[in-house]
């Protein structure tokens, strides 16, 4: 039986929340928004394939696992990541860390986490949470997307850590190794690096399925769904899935756009750099457009009809989001590129 005095952090997104909470516990307070920005946790991607998860996939974030790593690297914080073949060893190492007083981040499957609300349990392998104690055969879990810490039975956590399949966690366990020490300057440099990376990924990748262009690509696909799927329920399901990715899966609203706007706002004050205040306001407006899109999609779902005119209408809304984001992130990219290179690290 061991328990670490750990302050729970209620966050919009699991990985940025875990990163911010672990850093704060180690004595380096950093907001979730900053962790998301430094770790470049905003993205867009639409994969029109059937193979993964049974249908076209829309994502508002980069591949899981990168936010923690990038944030630590850019801040010069030392950390350790381990994966396991043998569940016994994976659980024993977690136990040992807790006994030493080190809270650990782990990657898990969502379906087998018994504390999740039933209708939010689905087979997704890249959830992140913090384990900070052990009591009577249960683990004490600080899951950033919930408002308070919870307990998780040992067999449930074990199953969730060692689920197989796409993006299998393989028991992934990560923690900070030394107390993080970084200067204000280092944070500012990390912010610039994160911002430039995100702006590049959103506006400069020359492939049509990524970044702001990807949103326009999705719009084109959306327009074709009523013709492509003979059963209207299938087109509606596709549309509903975009909204679920946008809102349901822990994004702080509008698919991370609001959290990222919070990051841009904090950046404006921290650096200070007044240009970022304007960027933040623009992204807030884009976030509001995303939410209007979600609200309209919900109305369409309610009608249970897949009409071409209505799908074109929401495709138009997506195109406006696409144009707005392309403009915004190109501006940020140019702004960061045109700055004289500083030699802080």
């Amino acid at each position: 039986m061991a328990e670490i005095a750990f302050q729970h952090l209620h966050a919009a997104h699991c990985e940025s929340g875990v990163t911010a909470a672990l850093l704060r516990h180690a004595g380096a307070p950093l907001s979730e928004a900053l962790a998301l920005g430094i770790g470049s946790g905003l993205f867009f991607l639409h994969l029109p394939l059937k193979s993964l998860g049974g249908g076209p996939t829309t994502s508002f974030r980069p591949l899981p696992g990168g936010i923690f790593r990038r944030t630590c690297k850019r801040l010069g914080v030392s950390y350790r990541v381990r994966r396991y073949r043998d569940p016994e060893r994976g659980m024993a190492d977690l136990d040992a860390l807790i006994t030493q007083g080190v809270p650990a981040g782990i990657q898990t499957n969502v379906y087998w986490l018994s504390f999740m609300p039933t209708r939010f349990r689905f087979q997704f392998n890249a959830h992140n949470l913090i384990v900070y104690g052990r009591r009577n055969g249960s683990w004490m879990v600080s899951d950033p997307v919930l408002e308070a810490p919870v307990e998780c039975p040992d067999d449930s956590l074990r199953k969730a850590r060692f689920a197989k399949g796409f993006m299998a966690p393989r028991g992934k366990l990560y923690h900070l190794t030394d107390p993080p020490r970084f200067s204000e300057q280092a944070v500012n440099a990390a912010i610039r690096a994160g911002s430039l990376h995100t702006a590049w990924a959103m506006s400069q990748i020359p492939l049509s399925i990524f970044g702001a262009k990807g949103i326009g690509f999705l719009a084109n696909r959306v327009e074709r769904w009523p013709d492509r799927f003979p059963d209207p329920r299938d087109s509606l399901l596709q549309l509903a899935n975009v909204v679920r990715m946008l809102e349901e899966v822990g994004t702080g609203g509008a698919g991370f756009r609001y959290v990222y706007a919070a990051f841009l706002q904090e950046t404006a004050e921290r650096l200070p750099d007044p240009a970022y205040r304007e960027y933040s306001e623009r992204l807030t407006d884009i976030g509001d457009q995303w939410r209007q899109f979600a609200a309209r999609v919900a109305q369409i779902c309610r009608s249970r009809k897949a009409e071409r005119a209505e799908f074109s209408e929401v495709a138009g809304m997506l195109r406006r989001c696409s144009e707005g984001e392309q403009g915004l992130f190109s501006d940020i990219f140019r702004h960061e590129k045109s700055r004289p290179k500083t030699t802080t690290s």
Binding site: H10, A11, A12, E32, A33, G54, Y111, P117, T118, R119, F120, F122, Q123, V145, L146, E147, A163, K164, G165, R233, L236, L237, A240, N241, V243, R244, E247, E248, G250, G252, G253, A254, Y258, V259, A261, A262, Q265, E266, T284, G287, D288, R291, A294, A295, V297, A298, C301, R302
Partner: protein, 143 residues
């Protein structure tokens, strides 16, 4: 989005709250707990209804002896034959064989126990399906 606009609608969160980012009265971003948002609930229910349909189809297939009870239990856990196979540690061809009534009947007790343990179904219920398929949309809050 402003702080007072953060929706507090009925949802599937079972009393939990999620963190939403919104602007406070000074135009600063703040984290505001939200009980849910109606459009999100509708989008989720579309997906839950689709899952219910898939499960009902599997349930009917078992009743018509087209597939074995394993198909029902697998679908209930939102798994595919490939996923079930890698999680239980057998080849996906074997899982496909066990998804057929003939293959299911010839399954060893050890194999059945393995499946039942992973799918968290008591072994006595593993060989049958419930009188009605389970649903996720059952207590539907208006709509």
């Amino acid at each position: 989005m402003k702080k007072e606009q953060v929706p507090q609608d009925e949802s599937f969160l079972e009393g939990h709250q999620k963190a939403a980012y919104a602007l406070d009265e000074h135009g600063k971003y703040a984290v505001v707990p939200s009980r849910g948002w109606e459009p999100e609930r509708i989008a989720t229910s579309v997906a839950l209804e689709a899952q219910d349909r898939t499960l009902r189809t599997a349930w009917e297939d078992v009743g018509a002896r087209r597939r074995s009870p394993l198909a029902y239990h697998m679908t209930r856990r939102q798994l595919t034959p490939g996923l079930l196979a890698s999680n239980v540690g057998v080849s996906s061809w074997r899982v496909r064989w066990h998804l057929r009534p003939a293959g299911f009947r010839m399954m060893s007790l050890g194999m059945a126990l393995k499946y039942a343990a992973y799918l968290e179904v008591p072994i006595e219920r593993f060989v049958t399906v419930p009188p009605q398929p389970e649903t996720l949309m059952e207590p539907s809050p208006n709509g």
